[in-house]
């Protein structure tokens, strides 16, 4: 899978590079982002604007990233479309993840702190 990572104000912005973040691609996505954390990235934005479909595998992968960051890092999500947002709300994960209105907002949140 073609993860795209860009640095903005000291924050790593990750774009999954797939339209469907589901069971077929979640393990590879998780592995690549966790590798980023293991390489020292502590502030990560996951930009979901290109993601049309997210299921519990994709969500679980994001939880894994959150756990990999532990208490020593920060994760924010941006670009969540309606159907993606509804999964976050259904699973109450919207209370767990910082969900920003825009990529700029997400970067600002993490860069500031």
């Amino acid at each position: 899978m073609d993860l795209k990572v860009t640095q903005e104000s000291g924050v790593s912005v990750v774009e999954p590079g797939v339209k469907r973040l589901d069971a077929a691609v979640a393990p590879a996505f998780k592995q690549k982002v966790v590798e980023l954390v293991q390489a020292g990235e502590r502030r990560i934005v996951i930009d979901l604007s290109g993601v049309a479909f997210l299921d519990s595998s994709g969500l679980g992968a994001m939880v894994s990233v959150l756990k990999a960051l532990g208490g020593q890092g920060a994760l924010a999500v941006c670009g969540a479309r309606d159907s993606v947002m509804s999964l976050f709300k259904l699973t109450r994960m919207d209370k767990v993840f910082a969900i920003a209105d825009s990529r700029a907002d997400a970067v600002r949140r993490l860069a500031g702190g």
Partner: protein, 144 residues
Amino acid sequence: MNTHGRLKLEGTLQQVSTALEYLMGQLARSGSSDDRDAIELGLSELLSNIVRHGYGGKAGPIRLTWSADEKRITVRVADRGKPIPKGSLEEAASTRFDFDDTTPLHALPEGGMGLVLVQRSFHKLRYRSRWGVNRLTAVRRMRR
């Protein structure tokens, strides 16, 4: 708009993705976008479970048939893998997601949410496992 169809998968996760994209195209004029999102999510969870747990990651046949009219969308899934453990689907109906920003990290689930999401996606579910074949019928009533 009335529509119906069938699909057969040989059970890889990539095929599940492709099948769902195809099915959602077929259902593009059935129900509201919320209805379609729910069906896509519920089926993704079900089919992924069949591939990963039912067939243990080895390719195995999955048959999907669907029909939709103005009132409901009915999907039937048949497979020959290990069945959903007895009681799990029913139990999932009463499971509540309970997290917030005070939940300790270790208590957040990385998996296991699938059956709860299936229960939330469909109004009626029937599951029967007999003679090596598992058959699930899932119905979603349309909301206008």
